[in-house]
Symmetry: C2
Subunit: 304 residues, 2 copies
Amino acid sequence: MSILTVGTVAFDDIETPFGRAEMVIGGAGTYIAWAASYLHDSVNLVSIVGGDFPKEELAMMNDRGIDTTGIEIVEDKNSFFWAGRYHDNMNSRDTLKTELNVLADFDPVLPDSYQDDDILMLGNLTPEIQIKVMDQLVKKPKITVLDTMNFWMDIAMDSLKEAISRVDILTINDEEARQLSGEYSLVNAAKVIHELGPKYLIVKKGEHGALLFHEGKMFAAPALPLALVKDPTGAGDSFAGGLCGYLASCDTIGYEEVKTGIIYGSVMASFCVEEFSLGRIKQLKEEDIKQRLQAFKDMTSFSI
Amino acid sequence: MSILTVGTVAFDDIETPFGRAEMVIGGAGTYIAWAASYLHDSVNLVSIVGGDFPKEELAMMNDRGIDTTGIEIVEDKNSFFWAGRYHDNMNSRDTLKTELNVLADFDPVLPDSYQDDDILMLGNLTPEIQIKVMDQLVKKPKITVLDTMNFWMDIAMDSLKEAISRVDILTINDEEARQLSGEYSLVNAAKVIHELGPKYLIVKKGEHGALLFHEGKMFAAPALPLALVKDPTGAGDSFAGGLCGYLASCDTIGYEEVKTGIIYGSVMASFCVEEFSLGRIKQLKEEDIKQRLQAFKDMTSFSI
């Protein structure tokens, strides 16, 4: 199966208790595509960048098998830019600056060569754009995954709900699941969210792992406790990339495959946070991924 | 193996977003003993109560195989009393009232019949009392477990560290692990805490489950997501009771047994929070426990 993903490709300024990184490569689309590329060799990316975006970054993506035909380059404008500062506990952050730049006019046009993709991963973006991408697909993908955040619930709940109604898997964090459903208990939140459309709800809990809800069943994946978390930026996107990358390698997709996909996503997120930007993700070897998968297996195995 | 536990046996007033309960039975020792009693038939409890404590509550404990010879009854005084109010998210609470009453003079004296116990569970109490119990044992138990809280770290860190230096398993929450170690990362916190003495560190994370650290290895147990958490009081004590109850049923105790013990502890904690006070814990059937163990197994199983 092949993966079509849409998401930002951008620059970040990041400040954490462990250092600073200025004008580094970021963006949901970037993290998703890089993470997925280790698990599957057909990843098609739709995005928009300015003339300031390094061509060699696109070339590096191509080297990893990521098709960037769908990235529009607007030479006389700048790429999307986000600056943020993480608090001491790394679980919360302040946005210091957001410059939409090219993103303000983003009107995604899917290349014809992207029409046959089986897995659609809608990265965190305006729900309107997520809908536009779904509308352009001639045939419905086998699985559509949507990632979003509280910001869109605050300012665009109606179109977000429309987007959500059309997807199979929704990935949000615990507070967002509560906001979207109006239910505090995640068990009850999942019931409300299933009614909105998605058969699978994945609740991302950062350092506490992730929960999957599907047809009354639950699956809990831990996060890997790490000695040093340098930069949480992109962890959720890397998680989505790992999930979709694994699903693309499956012949059929059901509850068991989504569970395993969550472990692959957790593995990719655990690498992501070890360095600023894509520092760790860009250096992965097959053996690293294999070892960390085993670490998750060991960390969750018990006999009763 | 038999279990010796020390902890409060007391009254609670509890207020949660789901209701109120006044002068209900509580106390760490009570929850530990009840939870352990479902997994093992030899539980010896050391505590102190006032003349106001219902004799039928002690009789109910005896019916479950809990030996209460070690509970001192001070007829002309009142039992320890705690009143607390939980916040909307149930993860934090305010203490409204603490009346030490009999607990102010608690000087535990172990009955001779408690001398041969293999598992010592020191419930959350003044570290001085935890030390006094250890001092009275003629032979060292096979496994000593200590539960404590930030309150003792704030006012009695030196004696707490002395108590901790003598135990095998320490159970605390994530913020307490950080406070005790001075390390934010739980991986680093575990290294510091192992140096203090305990070979096993169990970090309790409430709704996010528990982590076990032992000789560089890690194990993650989820908490069971529940539709309704009525009253979190005693969840940590029920966890400790489930852990020790399981360990008492093992011939030898090592990493694998502690891992499984954590699942039993998580099962008992999940029952505890479903009703106020011991409402649910007192009604358990063997089949309930079996089914919930299976729920934990199902919730954590995946293939890679």
